[in-house]
């Protein structure tokens, strides 16, 4: 059985820049999404084909969901690219990570068999980057929506000890948000990968199939959850302060 590593394994080094197996798969996912988007862009027309119709249906469904959460279509359209990209990127990463055969490729590195690909979300760098982006961007969007000073006042308010303490709690909650978002995604995907590795080792035929389906579902749910939590965070930060 392969050695289970918490960290993404180093594959090669390009001028001092380390390329890990999860980063390689991230690049592949990005490349695949870029190619798909360029192919779609070439075929966009007022009378849509099957693929464009499917994408449009997905976009309209997601936009409706964001509209109902944010309470404004204009806001939903403004923040749609960020939330949708988070969802699509994490979803494709999760799906490609458990794609049959992806985990089978290995390379020899320092006399060890290292998997060539690793699910991007099974690397904390990926999940942490997304969580930090989510928290920073939602705060920036909040500051743009309600004004820089009113937004900062949420965290640093010296009007009285209570508001100051609430501000401290807000800062802690933002840090906790980074930790919870990144570790939730990482934990779910990494646990899934470990589970699949063990199941494949114990019973390679037929038995892993339900677990693969379960992991597909987990991958979808986690991507959706991450995007929704970012959306809710945007909604909270961009809402005008009533008190």
């Amino acid at each position: 059985m392969e050695e289970i590593s918490l960290k993404a394994e180093e594959l090669f080094n390009v001028g001092g820049f380390i390329v890990t197996n999860s980063l390689l798969l991230t690049f592949i996912v990005s490349l695949a999404l870029i190619i798909i988007s360029l192919l779609l862009y070439k075929k966009i027309s007022m009378v849509p084909g099957k693929f464009q119709s499917g994408v449009e249906m997905g976009i309209e469904w997601f936009l409706d969901l964001m509209h109902s959460t944010l309470g404004s279509l204009e806001k939903a359209e403004r923040y749609f690219p960020l939330v949708a990209t988070i969802f699509i990127f994490i979803l494709f990463s999760n799906l490609l990570g458990i794609f049959p055969g992806v985990g089978s490729f290995t390379i020899d590195r320092h006399s060890n068999h290292v998997p060539l690909f690793r699910s991007p979300a099974a690397d904390l760098n990926f999940t942490m980057a997304f969580a930090v982006i989510s928290v920073i961007v939602t705060n920036v969007l909040g500051a743009m929506a309600v004004g820089v000073f009113p937004h900062i006042k949420k965290f640093l308010n010296f009007r009285n000890p209570i508001t100051f303490f609430i501000g401290i709690l807000e800062i802690v909650s933002e840090v906790a948000k980074i930790i919870s978002l990144s570790f939730r995604l990482f934990g779910n995907v990494f646990a899934g990968e470990v589970l699949l590795t063990i199941i494949f080792f114990l019973a390679p035929y037929f038995i892993p199939l339900p677990f693969l389906i379960l992991e597909l579902f987990v991958g979808l749910i986690q991507a959706f959850l991450f995007a929704m939590l970012t959306l809710v965070s945007i909604s909270l930060h961009t809402a005008a302060h009533e008190h």
Binding site: A8, M46, D123, N125, A129, I133
Partner: protein, 169 residues
């Protein structure tokens, strides 16, 4: 490669972290430029066209109702006009009939007068012809009746008979 401490144990590396973030932003920009913006524009344009079509359909419906109302009014007006025309025509026909009848009556009277005149003329001619032929006829009649010689018959007697016939006829 790893950071020291807890972050290092978890495999967090700032270069990898930043490259993941950079990768995400690149993808975000590309998807925004090539997927979201054009598709949202197409969806918006299509929705606008649908709304425009619905609006036009609504306007057309209202116009249709107006035209329907106008058509009904026109039909009503035409009906009233036709009733007037029929009344007028009936009136004219009545007048024409009356004038024609009067003319016909006058013409009839004229004809009757002409016929009467002609009749009288013919009667007069007949009478004259009868008078003209009566003397000869009576002579023959008397000759046949009394079997007398014509030269013996009194001319005065014949004339008397003719005059008597004239007065009787």
């Amino acid at each position: 490669m790893e950071e020291a401490g807890l972050l290092g144990q978890l495999g967090i590396n700032w270069k990898l972290f930043l490259s993941q973030a950079f990768n995400f932003f690149i993808l975000l920009l590309i998807l925004r430029a090539f997927v979201y913006k054009p598709l949202l524009a197409v969806i918006k344009k299509r929705n606008e066209k649908i709304e425009e079509g619905l609006e036009k359909a609504k306007v057309a419906d209202i116009r249709l109702k107006e035209i329907d109302g106008i058509a009904k009014d026109k039909i009503k007006q035409a009906e009233l006009q036709s009733i007037d025309i029929i009344k007028d025509t009936e009136e004219k026909a009545k007048n024409l009939e009356q004038s024609l009848t009067t003319k016909a009556e006058m013409h009839q009277k004229e004809l009757m007068a002409q016929i009467e005149k002609e009749h009288q003329r013919q009667q007069e001619e007949s009478r004259k012809l009868v008078v003209k032929n009566a003397a000869e006829l009576i002579r023959k009649f008397i000759v046949k009746t009394v079997e007398l010689k014509p030269e013996t018959i009194d001319q005065a007697l014949i004339e008397k008979a003719v005059a008597q016939y004239e007065t009787e006829s």
